[in-house]
Structures are given as C-alpha cells and as structure tokens.
C-alpha cells in the first residue's frame, strides 16, 4: 500500500511536476535519510542535513530515472550512499587523509552529544562500508539483497561486511556491559 502510494507520488512529480507530491515524499523519508547520514558521519547533524538535502535534490532532478525496479526507499538510499561516498572522496582529495582520520575528525566535532555517544563510539570502530551495511541492516531493517543493490556489490560481499562489523560491535557492546541487559 505504502509502495503504491510512493509510485503514485513519483508519477505526479514526473508527469505534472507536482512539487506538493515531492514534498510528501520528503516528509515521509526525511527521518530515515537523515538518520542514515547521522550514523555515517558519527552524529554530525549539520553535515548530515546538508548531505540529506543534496540527496533529495538529486532525487528530484533524476526522478524520471526511477524505474520502479526497487522500492522508492531503496532508490533513495542508493542516492544517499553515493552522495556520502562522493563527499568522503572529495574530503580525501582535499586533505589527503585516510578514512580513519575523517572518522576521528567527526568524532571530535561531536563531543557534546551526550546519550547518543555510545552508538557513534561503537560505529566509529567500523570501516565506512561496514558501518553502512550494519546500520542499514540493524537500524533501518533493510534486507541483505537490498543493501547489495544500494552499495552496488554482491550479496556475499555484504554478508562479509556485516559479519566483520557484527564481530567488532559484539566485542564493544560486551566490553561495555550491554550483554547484561
């Protein structure tokens, strides 16, 4: 039902350039997309909002290329993933620093986020691609097949990233007493 509604809204945007229909799509998916970026940037809300805005603008300009082969949400996550990796690449080119330094930089900007620190601390231990797979799988309830479509690699590779990420996270959580709950 929800998917049918999405298709109807997308059709209204493509055929009639109906901005109100696109506004409904933005309102529906803003939370998931901004949460995705918050997890990838380890809680940098300003950067997350900028990247999420870029994602929605790209979705709007390329909405005619949405072929309905996947869910609208999967298509949107794919754009978000590309936007984030374009950002990471541009940062690397500018500062010539590796991914771990990018992570460390974000974490210092986010020292005062209080209760959300634990999740960002745990995600900080993962490589970017592991973080993407783990957060999509556990937090956004996206299936392995769909994650493979989003990040553009085989399901076997996604399973490997998930397995490595899970191992690191399980160790961290056990070490911090989460296994007692």
């Amino acid at each position: 039902m929800s998917q049918l509604n999405d298709i109807s809204l997308v059709a209204q945007v493509v055929v009639f350039k109906n901005a109100r229909a696109f506004d409904e799509l933005v309102k529906k998916y803003q939370s998931a997309i901004r949460r995705f970026f918050l997890n990838q940037t380890l809680g940098d809300s300003e950067l997350s909002d900028d990247l999420a805005q870029e994602t929605f603008i790209k979705a709007y300009t390329n909405i005619a290329s949405f072929k309905n082969l996947s869910n609208f949400s999967t298509w949107l996550y794919r754009i978000a993933y590309n936007v984030f990796y374009d950002y990471i690449r541009s940062r690397k080119e500018t500062f010539e620093i590796d991914a771990r330094e990018v992570d460390a930089m974000h974490s210092t900007e986010q020292e005062n986020i209080g209760q959300k620190m634990d999740i960002y601390k745990s995600l900080k231990m993962l490589k970017e691609v592991e973080r993407t797979c783990v957060t999509l799988f556990y937090m956004e309830d996206v299936s392995i097949e769909k994650i493979a479509g989003i990040i553009g690699c085989p399901t076997g590779t996604v399973k490997s990233h998930l397995s490595r990420g899970k191992e690191k996270l399980a160790n961290y959580l056990k070490h911090n007493g989460y296994d007692r709950y």
Binding site: A19, D23, V26, S31, R35, L38, V134, M139, A170
Partner: protein, 108 residues
C-alpha cells in the same frame, strides 16, 4: 558469531533508533529545488507585466502618449519645418536604425 551476539546488536540498534524531527528540513529542501526559482521568476515577470498593462490603461496611458506626440508634432511645425537640417535628420535616422538592428541581433 553467536545468536546471542546478534540479539545484543539488534537490541542495541533498535533502542538507539529514534525518529528525526523535521524541524523545517522539508521546507528547506523544497525551497532549494532547482526549477522552483525559475518558476518564481516567471510568475514575477508575468505579474509585473500584467500590473504594467493594467496601470497603463487605468491612467489613460494611450491618451498621454498621443498627447505627447501631438505636442511634439505641433512644436516642430511651429519652430518651422524650413529650419530642419535634412542631412542631420538623415544621419540621426541611420544611427537609430543601426542601433536598433544591433539590439535585435544581440537579443537573438
């Protein structure tokens, strides 16, 4: 990797899953959509044109223009058509035509 580990991770992420409040984000996105500015500019041009036409007729613009042309013609007649330098008039006309042609070419 045990099922218990899987359960711990699942519980951890589900407890951390929070809805992100809109707080004007959707409005910001809609304001920055690419052809929205173009649309607003088209609406503004149409509005100004319509306002200009309405004001032109409301304040008898046509009559005012006709009066000015009439006065200019009468003035020219009174100062004497004999004093007009045909050569200067011809040069001025050529200059005006060339400027007009240049402007039209530039617009195209």
């Amino acid at each position: 990797m045990t099922d218990i580990d899987d359960k711990i991770i699942n519980q951890f992420f589900q407890s951390e899953k929070k809805e992100v409040k809109d707080n004007g984000f959707s409005r910001r996105v809609m304001r920055n959509l690419p052809d929205r500015g173009e649309k607003i500019s088209k609406i503004w041009v149409a509005f100004c044109t319509a306002a200009g036409i309405i004001l032109f007729f409301l304040f008898d613009g046509l009559e005012a223009i006709l009066n000015i042309l009439h006065e200019a013609f009468n003035g020219a007649m009174q100062t004497g058509i004999a004093h007009i330098d045909i050569k200067s008039l011809l040069i001025a006309t050529i200059v005006l035509i060339s400027l007009g042609v240049k402007k039209v070419c530039h617009i195209e």
